[in-house]
């Protein structure tokens, strides 16, 4: 039955709905040149994503955190950008890549999950959400050749299994589950190195947040694209935790206190 004056579509995916009926709103690049010749000649494109975002598991769930810097070439474009997004009550995503499309994908993904839940009457499973995000990253592939990369890091609490889960992606939409921790972005490697040294299974929440901020601090130390704590303006990294109780922001006071601890420990070593 077709209803006049109301949007018509089969299926429960908002992403498919906008892609089909409102392509100008979807991530897909309609009418844009596919792969420029020089890209074909050069081979794989460099992924410009000046950022560090990370996630690590602990006893009760997962903590996900990110720095606050956005860059435009050698300029700082934004000092307080948020790279960690609440997606629904049980999951969050952090992004690395071109800010505009990244934020758009986060918003589209939020709408997608809520849309599905309302139409079907039940939320998607944790695995289902992670797979859907992979399809959205894949749909963005033509844009990657234009230099507009969107690289998410997704964490969710799997209510059925009773554990937090971390998913990473590649530009083709490939989805890989991480068992302990992961970091992406230009400072991702530095953050991973820190976490590799200090990570333990079954950390307490406080220790997990501290390790996350230490890893971000070290990444900011070595990577120009990653911002450290800005003491003058009072800007600190953002973090969220996803547990059996749902998603929660780590409070500004906690973040400030933990950052100060990390810096005090470093200062005592340097002097």
């Amino acid at each position: 039955m077709k209803l006049p004056y109301l949007p018509d579509h089969d299926g429960s995916s908002f992403f498919d709905f906008v892609s089909t009926h409102h392509p100008e709103l979807a991530l897909r690049s309609h009418g844009m040149a596919a792969v420029p010749d020089q890209v074909r000649a050069v081979g794989p494109v460099a992924v410009p994503s000046a950022t560090t975002v990370l996630a690590l598991k602990y006893q009760q769930g997962v903590v996900i955190a990110g720095d606050r810097r956005a860059t435009e070439g050698f300029q700082i474009a934004d000092r307080r950008i948020e790279k960690v997004f609440k997606i629904d009550d049980w999951s969050a995503m952090a992004i690395a890549g071109a800010a505009g499309p990244c934020i758009e994908m986060a918003k589209l993904f939020q709408t997608e999950l809520e849309h599905y839940e309302k139409l079907e009457g039940v939320p998607l499973s944790c695995e289902g959400k992670a797979n859907k995000l992979g399809q959205m990253v894949k749909a963005n592939l033509p844009m990657v050749f234009q230099g507009l990369v969107v690289m998410p890091l997704y964490v969710g609490y799997d209510v059925k299994r009773g554990e937090g889960r971390i998913f990473k992606y590649d530009i083709t939409g490939g989805r890989y589950e991480e068992s302990d921790y992961h970091a992406i972005g230009s400072g991702g490697k530095d953050a991973r190195n820190t976490m590799r040294e200090h990570f333990k299974r079954q950390l307490f929440e406080g220790d997990a947040i501290k390790l996350a901020l230490l890893a971000l601090y070290n990444a900011a130390d070595d990577d120009v694209g990653t911002g450290g704590p800005d003491l003058v303006r009072g800007i600190y990294p953002t973090a969220k935790v996803v547990t059996a109780q749902g998603i929660a922001d780590v409070s500004d006071d906690t973040l400030r206190a933990v950052c100060n601890d990390v810096m005090a420990a470093r200062r005592s070593r340097e002097t």
Binding site: L3, P4, L6, P7, F14, F17, T111
Partner: protein
């Protein structure tokens, strides 16, 4: 060549309306009622999984009476309309009025142009936030739209329920428990049978909730509220 029978437009519309009304009256009733924190939706619905009441957006809910497949289709289209608007503009730009207008246009067009009218009657309710008033829209099978105050009834013996509620409705906006008791009494009297909590579908748009205001009231909570 045989001539097709002439049927006057009046007759045709009347036949269609009668057909639709008959279909809607076969079902059971649903009541939307304002209470202190928002809007209460109570449906006489023995099924635990086939919902008659559901969420559309942050502070907007939907209730449908009549043919399940038809109002289910309308519900899904409404969610698409709301989510698209919220995504394109912003969450606060999604309004119950615009959705109710869409439904009205849609039902009106189907009623006048299609052979078979939709056998549905629907409610679009919006809990007012930031000191705005609640909105309750009742939309009929022919697209006519009525802006209701305090309460609205659709489906089944809706007129009988309405008269009952009008008599008993309190002068002030009732709290949740009083509103639910009133609704259940009205439904039981017109259905001439006792309705157990399992046979009720109850949901609220509660403006005191953070974020999405729609919330289903569990059978256990309904039993608790209704217990004397």
């Amino acid at each position: 060549m045989p001539m097709p029978y002439y049927v006057s437009p009046e007759q045709m519309m009347q036949d269609k309306a009668e057909y639709a009304k008959k279909g809607i009256a076969k079902g059971r009733s649903i009541i939307a009622m304002e209470y202190v924190d928002g809007i209460l939706l109570t449906a006489d619905n023995p099924s635990a999984s086939l919902h008659k009441v559901s969420e559309i957006y942050d502070n907007i809910a939907f209730a449908g009476a009549g043919k399940y497949s038809e109002f289910e289709n309308l519900r899904k289209a409404g969610i698409r309309h709301a989510d698209l608007k919220g995504f394109m503009y912003s969450r606060e730009d999604v309004t119950g009025r615009s959705l109710a207008n869409g439904y009205s246009q849609s039902l009106g067009t189907v009623f006048s142009q299609e052979m078979k009218p939709l056998e549905v009657e629907i409610l679009v309710v919006q809990a007012g936030t930031n000191h705005h008033a609640n909105e309750i829209y009742r939309i009929s099978f022919d697209g006519s739209i009525i802006d209701e105050k305090n309460f609205a009834v659709i489906g089944g013996k809706s007129e009988a329920v309405q008269t009952l509620l009008k008599e008993k409705s309190p002068s002030q906006v009732p709290p949740l428990d009083a509103a639910l008791k009133l609704c259940v009494t009205a439904l039981e009297q017109t259905a001439n049978q006792k309705l157990p909590p399992e046979g009720l579908e109850v949901a609220v748009l509660d403006r005191t909730r953070a974020g999405r205001k729609f919330c289903r009231v569990s059978i256990a909570d309904v039993r608790l509220i209704l217990s004397p």
